[in-house]
């Protein structure tokens, strides 16, 4: 039976242009820019200095606190400098710049493609390896994975949920990974089950990836602890709250509620593959699959690229039409970030580069709200976007807090669906940030 979440959501055109393109390994870049903050939480602390020589997989920066992640050298070569560079956020952040020399890997990393299904490490060792390898959530949220593997005291986990929804239009990185690395992903799931000491895992996949569903169903036929669940195509099903609701009917409580409060831990399927490589191959997170797509791209592709490769190199490899390009987006069209420069590097959270043509990159003209209520209908969190947007615009932040503005997951369904083209989410984001700061201030007093 096909499942989905019951309230809200939209279904934008899929536009999965690159879903039949095999993953291609891109050449190692001549220079890698490696930001120190590629994850949620404290930026990592650099442990190298200019003129140092590093090999692929050497530690560049040490995690700085519990919610933080290690960063490793994606290329071998010489550290040129540690400088402020513009990253995906659009702001300048500390980054390590490496000039590539050759491509030699650090000792102990298994670079063969052989499948290794035998899990030797103990749960404790798995969590430590995931932490030392700098694995973060690759779906886009970049939450450090080792934190999720350590279930807090007093909480229990009874389901591991594998997020293979890929509900963003255009993106196909997870889809291709499942088709090409299915067995590795299955081993990865078994590794996480072992680390969490949980006995069942559900892989949630949207129904527009029928080949991946069939393939994983055949692979899991004799694996009783792992099941595959097809889901009706509905954005934002890849949001973990919506995914848990769709699969198990459980509702994660409002912030600061987490999936673990309803007995679930959620991992993106790309993260599962990274964990497989870290645990079985001792390979830190130095590369990832990135979809390069959009109507202004001649050859929509899925690339396996090293962290630190510039967006420009990816776009050239996919033959992007620079005259047509009007907007470059890191991530999908619903939640991705628009880039203001092509020198920005691929980071751990880069799931795709979407190049929109000039005519599609402008917003519709803003008209009066006609109170049609569509934003209320599509909000998967049961909020009232028209109201939150107005309250934020008029700076009534206390009332916005009473109306649960911090529950917003910024999925963008409201702005997407508004027939008056109103930038609802822009205002709501502003209000949400302000309210979060107000709450933080109150905590300090």
């Amino acid at each position: 039976m096909i499942k989905t979440f019951p309230k809200g959501g939209v279904h934008p055109p899929d536009n999965k242009l690159s879903c039949d393109q095999k993953i291609v390994r891109l050449p190692v870049p001549e220079q890698a820019i490696v930001p120190l903050s590629q994850h949620i939480g404290a930026p990592a602390k650099a442990v190298v200095k200019p003129m140092d020589l590093v090999k692929v997989g050497d530690l560049l920066a040490q995690n700085n606190g519990f919610i933080s992640a290690n960063i490793h050298a994606p290329v071998s070569g010489k550290i040129m400098k540690i400088d402020d560079c513009i990253d995906v956020s659009g702001y300048k952040n500390k980054s390590i710049i490496i000039k590539t020399e050759g491509d030699s890997f650090a000792e102990g990393i298994d670079i063969s493609q052989d499948l290794n299904e035998e899990i030797r490490l103990t749960p404790q060792q798995i969590t430590e390896r995931v932490a030392s390898s700098g694995i973060v959530g690759l779906g886009g949220a970049t939450f450090p994975s080792h934190v999720k593997l350590s279930v807090p005291k007093g909480k229990t986990c009874d389901y591991l949920i594998i997020n293979a929804v890929e509900c963003e239009p255009y993106l196909t990185a997870d889809h291709r990974l499942m088709l090409e690395k299915g067995k590795e992903i299955l081993t990865g799931i078994r590794i996480i089950l072992k680390a969490l000491d949980v006995s069942s895992a559900i892989i949630g996949i949207e129904n527009n990836k029928k080949d991946a569903i069939t393939y994983l169903e055949t692979l899991t036929k004799n694996v009783p602890e792992i099941s595959v669940q097809a889901l009706k195509v509905q954005y934002p099903q890849g949001g973990e709250k919506q995914l848990i609701k769709a699969l198990l009917g459980r509702e994660v409580p409002a912030p600061p509620g987490l999936p673990i409060d309803v007995g679930c831990v959620v991992f993106n399927v790309g993260t599962v593959f990274a964990i497989y490589e870290a645990v079985q191959k001792n390979k830190p997170l130095i590369e990832r699959v990135v979809t390069v797509t959009g109507k202004a791209v001649k050859k929509p592709s899925n690339f396996l690229v090293r962290i630190g490769t510039s967006v420009q190199q990816l776009m050239q490899a996919a033959q992007a039409d620079m005259d047509q390009a009007g907007k470059i987006i890191s991530g999908g069209p619903m939640m991705g970030k628009a880039l203001n420069s092509l020198d920005i590097p691929v980071v751990k959270g880069t799931s795709g580069i979407l190049v929109l043509p000039w005519e599609d990159s402008k917003r519709a003209e803003v008209e009066n709200c006609i109170r049609c209520g569509r934003c209320v209908t599509v909000c998967p969190l049961g909020l009232e976007p028209y109201l939150l947007s107005k309250l934020s615009q008029k700076a009534f932040f206390e009332r916005a807090e009473d109306e649960d503005i911090i529950n917003c997951i910024e999925c963008g369904c409201c702005s997407y669906t508004c027939p008056s083209g109103r930038p609802l989410l822009d205002f709501i984001r502003h209000g949400k940030t302000t309210v979060m700061n107000m709450i933080k201030q109150r905590g300090k007093k």
Partner: protein
């Protein structure tokens, strides 16, 4: 290459292709079957009233925005066309031409533009226009051309009472519904619309065809019309069962007067109706109750316009108390 500038903005980077114009166009399309019936039943008078109302509504909106409010005119969003069309549908087909223009001026100028244009009006503009005319020119507004016989006449038309006023006056005069039934049209006439009344409200069939179109295009949801129709059926049905001598059959109530037009096109006006499904149901039930109370116990034979306008005033309150269930909230 990196010299080229790109668009930047916050997500989402794609939007639906829906627009106010598209929504209004759908409403206009949905109103076309009723237009055809109006032309068939009332002929030239209906054509004149509709053209006058639509053109003057667009004209007033353009003039007021351009020269009085000095904002960019929004006539291209077609909302003025809808207001004009709906107002015309609520008028007798032989209403003097200048009254039609006064009505659209009140609807557009006072009910819509003085509150800030589309989206800001608390009351349905077309209904404000209609009620203004009804209170100002009660005789002209309740003189109804006889159906089918006046197709080519613009003045000196043959008039007749509407089924609702026949019922009201008859019952007030001490007659019973069964003795009046000879003067009343059959249910079939009521359904297809060969009866007297405002020019756009007569045919339940035509209005229901438009309703199906609006539902299919997802312009409106079923909640408000269903709540109104179910409430009126239950309320008038109960009265009918209690005392069939003075109370008409529920089907008679549903297919006469402005109930279909009001329930499907006026009460569902997005700007003046609640946001949530729960709110819509409450809104619809209250409109149904008020309509029957006015029709059966009040002085007017028809109560739909008053009921909708009264409930329009409660919309902010309904929105305040009918919140959607927050995700993760325990009930």
């Amino acid at each position: 290459m990196s010299q080229k500038l790109f668009h930047v903005s916050l997500s989402p980077h794609i939007q639906t292709r829906d627009s106010i114009q598209r929504i209004m166009l759908d409403v206009i399309i949905a109103l076309l079957p009723a237009l055809a019936v109006a032309l068939y039943v009332f002929g030239l008078g209906a054509l004149q009233t509709i053209l006058l109302a639509v053109c003057s509504a667009v004209f007033f909106e353009y003039i007021l925005q351009k020269f009085v409010l000095r904002v960019k005119p929004t006539v291209s969003d077609l909302s003025a066309v809808v207001t004009g069309l709906l107002l015309a549908y609520n008028l007798p087909s032989n209403l003097p031409w200048w009254m039609v223009i006064v009505g659209t001026f009140v609807a557009i100028g006072i009910a819509k533009m003085s509150f800030g244009g589309i989206g800001n009006n608390p009351f349905n503009p077309a209904l404000v226009g209609r009620v203004f005319l009804l209170l100002s020119f009660p005789v002209a507004m309740t003189t109804w051309p006889k159906p089918l016989v006046n197709r080519t006449a613009l003045t000196d038309v043959v008039t007749s009472a509407t089924p609702l006023s026949v019922l009201k006056e008859g019952v007030n005069g001490g007659q019973t519904v069964s003795t009046l039934s000879a003067q009343l049209p059959s249910f079939w006439d009521l359904f297809i619309g060969t009866i007297g009344g405002s020019l756009g409200e007569v045919s339940a069939l035509a209005l229901l065809i438009g309703f199906i179109y609006l539902l299919w295009r997802k312009v409106i949801s079923w909640h408000i019309p269903a709540a109104i129709i179910v409430t009126i059926t239950i309320f008038t049905g109960t009265l009918y069962l209690l005392n069939p001598a003075v109370n008409a059959h529920p089907v008679f109530h549903l297919f006469t007067g402005g109930i279909m037009l009001g329930a499907i096109y006026m009460a569902t006006d997005m700007v003046t109706s609640p946001m949530t499904y729960k709110g819509m149901l409450i809104f619809g039930v209250c409109i149904g109750l008020l309509t029957v109370i006015i029709r059966v116990f009040g002085a007017y034979p028809e109560g739909m316009s008053f009921a909708i306008l009264m409930m329009n005033a409660f919309v902010p309150l309904i929105n305040k108390f009918c919140k959607p269930k927050r995700f993760g909230e325990k009930i």
